[in-house]
Subunit: 381 residues, 2 copies
């Protein structure tokens, strides 16, 4: 098995509505990632996307984007794990390079949510027969978890507030973020409308369009492509029981726990080594539960890290350092590649106003469904 490095990344700004069509968004992110790399060297393309089926009436997206990007003849496959599809495509590109089957592979995530109303399509991440048939949506499931959490741990009503505040603090300085340049105060978070009790609008990541790409090469050959590279120290996927109702403790993300533990073993690092953690804060409650499942906080105390500002850029465990899903935006299939791109910028000291001090090891997790699938990656220099 070969060691694998990120040798380049490419992001297009997250927008409410992109002027590009879906394939051109993918093409644009790929083009940015290949600015200093000869496209002829690309062996394989793995595409993360969740909603093109419904919103663009398009399957077979990887082959379409490869063609649009002028990457003729190459391997191109679509990889999905609901909302973790971006991270799933990163995992597949990792396997292709690690196995020796590809010498240069791109993982691109792309989603254009403005082409329709995505709510029903997003709910397909849940059990169609047993959950969706009863009216469940991603929002209702996360509202259930938040309600349960606040009650079970007797947490204050505003427990999750600082997750959104922190995300927007960082998004404000990220030119690729949907909320770039925008101020979101604690009061705005607190006063935001209830979407699904007790979930407020500011507990939810925004619907948006975006695309990001990450280029992987064998670590041994990384210098041929760039002098700014980041090693993938671990890549792991774990699943929990499919539905929350099947789990012993609905407030414990077993998938996040298992996936993190696998990744820690593979990377041979532990919690204390992690300089920053890109979480899947599609909903604040998920960020909180991830911090607990991965081990940064005891159960019931994840929100305290936010409350005490330990998730800020200069805190104990910075999260969502470029705004996270909440502030950067959550173009579903693209989010995992935005996370990886942001970590690349952090570890290569290119994060500018969002740079955290001397990061050595960074972690990301992406979540599919109601924390059913959790994909962890750990990166280092």
């Amino acid at each position: 098995m070969r060691d694998v490095s990120i040798v380049s990344v490419g992001q297009i700004p997250v927008e409410k509505k992109s002027s590009l069509n879906l394939r051109s968004m993918g093409e644009a992110a790929i083009a940015k990632s290949l600015i200093n790399i000869d496209p002829e060297q690309v062996d394989a393309l793995f595409v993360g996307n969740m909603l093109s089926d419904e919103l663009q009436g398009q399957k077979h997206l990887a082959a379409l984007i490869a063609d649009t990007a002028g990457l003729f003849g190459i391997e191109a496959l679509d990889v999905n794990a609901a909302m973790a599809s971006g991270a799933a495509s990163l995992r597949m590109a990792y396997l292709a390079v690690a196995s020796g089957e590809a010498d240069l592979a791109i993982a691109v995530g792309v989603e254009k949510m403005s082409d329709g109303v995505p709510t029903a399509a997003l709910a397909k991440a849940l059990d169609a027969e047993k959950e969706v048939a009863d009216g469940a949506t991603m929002i209702s499931k996360n509202a259930d978890l938040l309600r349960l959490y606040l009650k079970h741990f007797d947490s204050p009503e505003d427990a999750m507030e600082n997750f959104a505040v922190n995300a927007h603090r960082n998004a404000k300085k990220n030119p690729n973020a949907l909320f770039f340049g925008k101020t979101v105060t604690p009061r705005m978070v607190r006063k935001s409308r209830i979407v699904h009790h007790p979930l407020k609008l500011m507990d939810c990541s925004p619907i948006s369009d975006g695309a990001a790409a990450v280029v992987l090469a064998p670590t041994q050959e990384e210098r041929a492509f760039s002098d700014k590279t980041v090693r993938i120290l671990a890549s792991s996927v774990a699943t929990d029981r499919f539905s929350i109702s099947q789990r012993k403790d609905p407030l414990w993300l077993e998938g996040a726990y298992l996936s993190a533990q696998k990744a820690f073993r593979q990377a041979n690092v532990n919690l204390n080594d992690i300089s920053l953690f890109e979480v899947h804060d599609a909903f604040s409650i998920m960020a909180c539960l991830q911090l607990e499942a991965v081990g940064f906080a005891k159960q019931g105390e994840g929100w305290l890290l936010a409350k005490e500002n330990e998730i800020r850029l200069n805190g104990k465990i910075p999260i969502s350092t470029f705004g996270g899903l909440k502030g950067r935006g959550h173009p579903i299939g693209a989010s995992g590649l935005y996370q990886a791109s942001e970590i690349y910028l952090q570890l290569t000291q290119q994060a500018e106003k969002n740079q955290i001090k001397r990061p050595k090891v960074a972690m990301m997790q992406s979540i599919g469904g109601a924390a059913t699938t959790v994909i962890s990656h750990i990166f280092g220099n």
Copy 2:
């Protein structure tokens, strides 16, 4: 990179309408593949499916099937390449084992087409903006190719007839085939109704339900799982220009050519070594064009191999040895895993009435869209 072997397979019979729901079909194929293997040893599951989004309103299928099959906690991802999704999941399982990331991985393909009308969903394999908007379907695209072929090469109207006859000859003896026990005569093929001129019903594979699973392990450890194993000598994916209209020669399958050439190099075998070839005969014309692109026939002469009965079990290059997509049935996402399962049975001398004599090396190709994505695998002992 580790060598990889198939250590077990599991097929459920292809049916017009399965009594099981989608997830249970997947579970059933997995259970059959694990009869002699401890499920606790399974590290990863890769699922090939094309239509669950539309027909079952379900995404996130890999995690759902893992849960249904009792494979708790494992890695589970969906892999897609339109109609080649089954082969794509095999490729991903191969990468997972080859890289060392999984010691036992299952690729399962599953499709339940009887839950709705799949035509529109199938067309999403084509370009939604440039082809489907003009009324194109998979059937119209294949009819175009057939019309062009017959004209360009001045072939007889019944040129493709023996592809269907051969497929049904073999399907008749395959208990897992939709057409098991059924006689289809050359006259029945000839007299079948025109679906889309000049394409006849008997030039098209039938809509059906099915699931098949293949279990992969490192070759070095294959004996721990079975004494009947088959090595994967090559696994490769190539893409052509996305739309037929973009290609220099619409009758030349560049993706099939590139993918086959890569696979031959990887396996270190050549055409003459291939004992049997499982083709993607969703439409007879595709089988014909594949035989030409891979090199078994000159351009314009693929149909002669069928005409001269050289594609039969005792011919020069047996194809569709268990009935192919035409006779076994083509439950889209499952077909690639049926192909791999059938090759496993051939190479381990368990093909019973469909056994070809002393096969050494076998090849399969799966096709996504209008031959846009072609996935090749080569197997040997």
